[in-house]
Amino acid sequence: MAEHATAVAEDESLPPATAHQFDDAIQQHDASGLGMWVFLLTEILFFGGLFTIYTVYRSLYPDAFGHASSTLDITLGTINTAVLIGSSLTMALAVHMAQVSRNGKLVAFFLCATIVLGSVFLGIKAIEYAQKFHEHHVPGPGFHYEGVDPPQAELFFCLYFLMTGLHAIHMVIGVGILSVLVVMSLRGRFGPDYYTPVELTGLYWHFVDIVWIFLFPLLYLVERHS
């Protein structure tokens, strides 16, 4: 107990570190935020390349894309969308708690909730991938497809695996960063005067959520009505 009290006292006595190139902590915080947005800008264009390819091939082969899309499991896709939105909420709550309180355990709780929901998303994604392997819908020598225009459908599945795969890699990286933040928040590193890492990780996590918000209708909902 005494040990714990000393640790807290030490942490509170330390001013938030300001690197020498900044005038003050506020300027440092703003610069970090801007840097993160510039990184997200490159990420938007990174994913944007795949979205461009998707737009080209869907406009060329609308029927094949429609039929191939309907082989995806819409129930799992919708559940996953809801799970990811939930993880964005818990992430936003983690940032909020770091902004208003010194309770590291509270921040850690919401970060852990985000990790759990992110892992549930990846687990459901793994089930969907396993189904696709089972149905031989994975592009390559083993590809077998009974529906309309198999070669064009194979293109759709190529894009499906590339886009959801790149998205899933981002989620795995996000879970890794969140795990580090859990440890940091339990050590009392964050509070109203310093929460930049939590905030920037939040931006990253919400960005990944936005990518999925577009992937869901483009991959799962192409032609459900016919």
Partner: protein, 98 residues
């Protein structure tokens, strides 16, 4: 910093969360209604609304500096350039309707 950053009230987060779930249900249901060419349009409009809600409230863009807004504007501007110019090339090659 707390002196500088806007702290979004918790009810706002829960309202946005609910709106996002409702919009997800709407977009998944409306996909089963045959609207012809409008289906893509409706699906993308709902996605853009959802993305805007996340950007504005979860990512605090509504309370951000103009410099940050400029960054986001640039990102979507170049994304539009990439897609529009590429499609301009594709549609002008006579690949459609033989």
């Amino acid at each position: 910093m707390s002196r500088h950053d806007h702290v979004v009230p918790l009810p706002v987060y829960f309202a946005i969360f609910t709106a996002l779930l409702v919009l997800t249900a709407v977009t998944a249901s409306i996909a089963y209604v045959d609207l012809g060419r409008l289906n893509v349009f409706v699906a993308l409009t709902i996605a853009i609304v959802k993305a805007s809600l996340v950007l504005l409230y979860f990512m605090h863009l509504r309370y951000s500096s103009r410099l940050t807004l400029l960054m986001v504007g640039i990102a979507f501007f170049w994304l539009a350039v990439m897609i529009v110019l590429t499609m301009g090339d594709v549609v002008s090659r006579g690949w459609f309707g033989g």
